[in-house]
Amino acid sequence: MAEAIAGSVHDGDTVAIEGFTHLISFAAGHEIIRQHKRDLTLARLTPDLIYDQMVGAGVARKLIFSWLGNPGVGGLHAVRRVTEGASASLELEEYSHFGMVGRYTAGAMNLPFFPLRSYFETDLPVANPLIRPIRSPYGDDLVYAVPPLEPDVAIIHAQRADEQGNTQIWGLLGCQKEAAFAAQRVIVVVEELVSEDVIRADPNRTVIPGLIVEAVVVEPFGAHPSYAQGHYDRDNRFYIEWDAISRDADLLEQWLDEWVYGVAGRAEYRDKLGDERLDALRPGSSPSGSVDYGDYR
């Protein structure tokens, strides 16, 4: 991971660590903090705890987002500290969920804009002049457009990939695929490295082709406290604990010292969490069953 981040993430880059609740690469976010990256623009529909930690650690100059919060718990306090009041210092570029999805999609498709039926009669196009009206060439329909978003780096956590980076995901898909295709460089972080044969057995399950992947990093529990469908549950306890930690800048700094700067990497973080806590997150089994692609020769 250290090598992948050092090689692909540079100061000033636009970075997208995507994942809607599911498969958020906390491991990559922590490594970015450890490497003291600066002036990053962080893009993500739901900045979530990982961006709160990164903002708290001072790596970010700007957020591009659609929903800013600790889902089910409350606000992102490190972000609030630098966005509220006269001293607001973090730049915000704000859309709706579908606007962000449209931005990644336009980026992936090399389109100059993506049209959507949103934003009518709201203050969002006022707050963000990049949200612009566009008229249909078929009659009078006016819709809104968002511009393409092409991150320098997309970091995608997944259940498994092969060495070439052919990556398979099941469960919530968010907009990881769109973000990856939109990005200049893609880092894939997986629970499990598998042989090419495992991937080739079920090609419809492949979400990201190795073609666009720059690095594959193996990091079991690399999404914790987010989750990986079938591997472990979301650690909701930490989402609640973070509320108190993040309300106090000193506590947050202590937390970073202990859990990010204080560990060499994810293996140490896992050890520190301990087997008991991690084992408690493992779900029972619910197999997909197998389908037959047929052998045609």
Partner: protein
């Protein structure tokens, strides 16, 4: 089926009353866009009572969820396992919501005005807010594309305001012109149809203005007036919300939220 037992007002919480009132409003609806928390419980209660055919679409990309436990986040893995379909957000927002398949969307709000316009972005000035709220998420497009919108929120002078600080999700706009503008601009949604608070239930009149139709048991009109920044329109026949039945409470407490996470 035996007739529902009467239940005393003291026997349920304000959150439980909100959930039950919201569930009842879902009678006759077919497809519902679900967020986590109170709406999730309300929708599941409706499915067990007044709207057994209700189809649930979760914002996270899940259709036909069959959660084995109460989902604790909007993307809880329990809504994925044994669902009928899991989709990308492109498809969820594009094909399901913007495509016109959603009958009812639920929204919360930090501020609402009498026309049902909603702010969930900032309190104060946008560039230097006193409080930075989460922002739209999907709310903006839900307000525009869901056929109708249910709002669930607690009521206070700070939340029921004369003028919202930022319009995140359009409601009936300036009131009487709302329906016309929605039609002319080709929106799929007719806008907010009901607001359920901890004090009562509101619908909207022909002019697009919120009207108090029902007070929850034990709540007075004065209580309500004390917790909003305008003088509400009141129904000619203001009624008392029927309290939760024993069966409704049993379902909420013993089936949907056994740990009382959202309902105490």
């Amino acid at each position: 089926m035996s007739p529902p037992e009467p239940v005393e007002a003291a026997d349920f919480s304000a959150s439980e009353m909100m959930i039950v009132a919201a569930a009842r409003e879902l009678a006759g609806r077919h497809v519902c866009f679900v967020g986590v928390g109170l709406p999730n419980i309300a929708v599941n209660l409706a499915k067990l009572t007044v709207a057994t055919d209700l189809e649930l679409v979760y914002e996270a990309g899940v259709f036909g969820a069959r959660p084995a436990r109460l989902p604790l986040s909007i993307g809880d893995p329990t809504i994925v396992t044994r669902a009928t379909a899991v989709t990308s957000m492109f498809e969820l927002f594009g094909f399901y919501l913007q495509g016109g398949l959603i009958d009812v969307g639920f929204l919360g709000a930090a501020q609402i005005d009498r026309f049902g316009n909603i702010n969930s972005t900032v309190i104060g000035d946008y560039a230097h807010p006193t409080t930075r709220l989460p922002g739209s998420g999907g709310a903006c497009e839900i307000a525009i594309n869901a056929r109708e919108v249910f709002v669930i929120m607690r009521q206070s002078r700070r939340s029921f305001v004369q003028r919202i600080d930022f319009r995140t999700s359009p409601g009936n706009l300036g009131g009487a012109d709302g329906a016309r503008i929605r039609r002319e601009q080709g929106w799929l949604g007719a806008g907010p149809s009901v607001v359920i608070t901890d004090l009562g239930v509101y619908h909207f009149d022909a002019g697009g203005v919120m009207r108090l139709d029902s007070l929850h048991p034990g709540v007075t009109l004065e209580d309500v007036q004390g917790k909003m920044a305008w003088q509400p329109a009141v129904a000619d026949r203001l009624i008392e919300t029927a309290p939760p039945t024993a069966e409704e409470l049993r379902l909420v407490r013993d089936v949907l939220d056994t740990e009382g996470i959202y309902t105490r």
